[in-house]
Symmetry: C2
Subunit: 562 residues, 2 copies
Amino acid sequence: MTQPAELYQTHRELLARAIEAAAARDYWSAFPESPSKSVYGEDAAPAGERAFTALLGKPFPIEVPGAVGTVSTERSPYGLELGVSYPKADALALIAAARAATPAWRAAGPEGRAGVAAEILRRINAHSFEMAHAVQHTTGQAFVMAFQAGGAHAQDRGLEAVACALAASTRTPATATWAKPQRGADPLHLEKTATVVGRGVSVVIGCTTFPTWNSYPGLFASLVAGNPVIVKPHPGAVLPLAITVRICREVLAEAGLNPDVVTLAAEEPGDGIAATLATHPDVRVVDFTGSSDFGDWLEANARQAVVYTEKSGLNTVIVDSTDDYKGLLRNLAFSLSLYSGQMCTTPQNILVPRDGLDTDAGHRSPDEFGADLAAALDKLLGDPRRAAGTLGAIVNDGVLGRLTEAAAAPGVIHPSTEVADEQYPGAVMRTPLVTRLDAADEKVYTREWFGPVSFLITTDSTEHSLRVFTETVRAHGALSALVHSTSPQVLAAAREAALDAGIHLSENLTGGVFVNQTAAFSDLHGTGANPAATAALTDDWFVTGRFFTLQSRRHIPVPEQS
Amino acid sequence: MTQPAELYQTHRELLARAIEAAAARDYWSAFPESPSKSVYGEDAAPAGERAFTALLGKPFPIEVPGAVGTVSTERSPYGLELGVSYPKADALALIAAARAATPAWRAAGPEGRAGVAAEILRRINAHSFEMAHAVQHTTGQAFVMAFQAGGAHAQDRGLEAVACALAASTRTPATATWAKPQRGADPLHLEKTATVVGRGVSVVIGCTTFPTWNSYPGLFASLVAGNPVIVKPHPGAVLPLAITVRICREVLAEAGLNPDVVTLAAEEPGDGIAATLATHPDVRVVDFTGSSDFGDWLEANARQAVVYTEKSGLNTVIVDSTDDYKGLLRNLAFSLSLYSGQMCTTPQNILVPRDGLDTDAGHRSPDEFGADLAAALDKLLGDPRRAAGTLGAIVNDGVLGRLTEAAAAPGVIHPSTEVADEQYPGAVMRTPLVTRLDAADEKVYTREWFGPVSFLITTDSTEHSLRVFTETVRAHGALSALVHSTSPQVLAAAREAALDAGIHLSENLTGGVFVNQTAAFSDLHGTGANPAATAALTDDWFVTGRFFTLQSRRHIPVPEQS
């Protein structure tokens, strides 16, 4: 048995380095993103694949307190038969188990809990290949992306949350002495103790596209803050979180703690267990990633809890001018194509002035820019193998439905086409669709078209583009924004517009950094300042709602004068 | 004109020291609490009195954007004729003015805003005597208490909020560079900028008993975070906040800023301007101190805002045993008497086991303890002059009504009596009332009796007392708790009970520290963990809801290798 305090000692340097990196916001990563043998070892890839394959067609090995029966709800976007079943959760039993596990978890203290969390992340990292297959076959992400976004990057985001929660919850010293001078008398002496207490049972509601990346921050921040966590996966992407919860419970049990500090809440689609859990009086923290409809519902109805949501929005690109037109096109084409536009950060609305844009390759009208972008997409996705590795598969029929709807409208400048996968003939793959709109078509572009659907929108001027940007993002939210301009004045105006809109801004990305990617420990993800999210991954607001600092104080004898 | 940046330089050391103290939680104070000539100078007291007197019977000199007509709503609990009138606020005009003042305030940056805030607090401190009279004649606090709690201590709490907001909003560096290594290629280089943006218009709703102490944390935290603040005083205690807002506007104007960053919202009782302001879409932060009824209403209805409330609760004392019985009685009698029990931290429910308590003066039954406590109150308040200085005056008829109601019940062990004031014959003064109850009388003691009404409640045992304590505070909230015991086991159990109840705990206070007082920079006030408040003064949760950190990022050329 390894006590939490020992785990803290084991991971002390890692945690200190993570806290330092999160404060400096410079480049740092704890978990290598490359699936190469030189990093993870000769046997890691085949062992991970074997572990994944061994899970298929069976009940998943996990204990769920109070579960009755099983559910099996996943379908691989690559067409692989999964057939994994999970214990079907009972909301009240999970909450009771979480409450029972709370006192010992509180007693472990922030450092002990951070030690346990770091051990869990190390253990998850060791399962990165198994996890990559699980993420690929639930989300439709291509394997390398699943390894990175679902593995190393998610682990980094988890560790970032651990670091932020540990730093925030230990900012008030555990003990302090207080000596107040008194006129003509000895000073008043008090000893003061501060104890961190979790807010209560925490529920993390996962999404179908990034089950680990979007769930780890809430899961790990809540754990370090002293809360038991019920993990409620999307019925379409249970396996990555089931593996995660299994590892959490293993580490907890090995540390002599009640494994019910983390439990899995699998359900049939339509059971509505997320709503039942989120509105229970004992549930005091809710994390959610997914649709604005349900996110807004949670914010309005889970009134007894602090609710952290990441919802949808209108990710926007303002194109004014560039001195690297090829780079712009290549970069933007990749951003539209990566995971078939199924990222919460994929650009949707591309704003171009009616007069066109100046580039190092000459002036381009909106028509010409549209044609050039379509050509860049075709070039990027011309090789089917590379296309499959970039696009991944379509996660569900909802995305296909929107593609069909968008394809029927006039103005298509890049149609969506089918792509075949070598390994999985059943994979559902599509290239991005781009359609021309006018700034007046706001009924179309102020709605989120989650998936590979983007709009090239003509505006009166860059000034008009910035106005459309600010107004639409203020009203409907966004998780990313990008501006291309060679003009310092336009860049300055775009920065002000982004502050007004409440969104992070990327400028002139023409190389290997993409607007849809954020780096843990450096880039904040989401802002809280627009309707798409209520907090940023990971800022103090995201962690400080999860715990309280309670003091006690008592007199101590006045020290003798020597 | 002194720019915000210059004010930051002026107060840089003070701010650094305040941040250090708030982190260490040891003793520190920036503003001397003693009204003595040796501290504030020969002329400060008479000059302050003249300044106060000059305000009486006149329109208060302050500009309020869009105000129509005047209101005059205050009545001195000491019977002094006040007759001060204020511009009557128009909610929409105030919000429009606040919005117009926002861009320049955002541009001042966290340091510039903290410089302005520190200058305001220095200026308020220089008006401490004028403020003390204003606080005395609106709240009923005795002069020295008004000077301390309404002056120096409030200023310290304001500076603490400035320090916490400055530390939290500058924790993400304003600029960072990011260099990600690439296999077989140059690293990716980005420059990143972080900008602090306020959440939006902030409304601070003051209370009638501590208009400055309870309003300054929200006011100053919101200012530093980049928000304009509309200050809405209780109609019974306008003057202290009117003086505060006047000084804010002076300093803002001198710094070349729009004074409408801080405005005053005076109203007729019943106008309901607090509700109108708090539910307006542009109002994004609400601070409130007062009744649970309106606090709960705000939490339920001001959905577009982050709502920080401090409401009422059941402050509890658990008496188990003591080795300083005289000290216990003296300390508790003072806590019950100070400002006639009109503090949000005054003990209401005193729990004593049926078998009585062991003390250094022998065993005491609940009857004996009650008689001894009554005697200690009589001794403390025996001298009318000292009694007046401790009790102050009764703030309003609501308090008198509860006194009458409580006096009519059986079991009174210390009746409330009238006390006369030498200087103000019209002052309404009363000693505390203490009544015996049984643990079964929960209908009576689970209601807050704000004012000088306390209950000596007999329980089956100390264990039972702790259970009553935890259950009642979890359900109804509390802002203070005190335990007296010589047993390490009982003290440990009380600490656990306080963690379960979500309340700070004082232990064995028998000297010059009182359970109803908390010290800025060391003691947190309120916890967020029980229904009496949603945050602590001043923790990170209290400040991080007031701003967002927005990033922008762009490539920088790869440095040449030398």
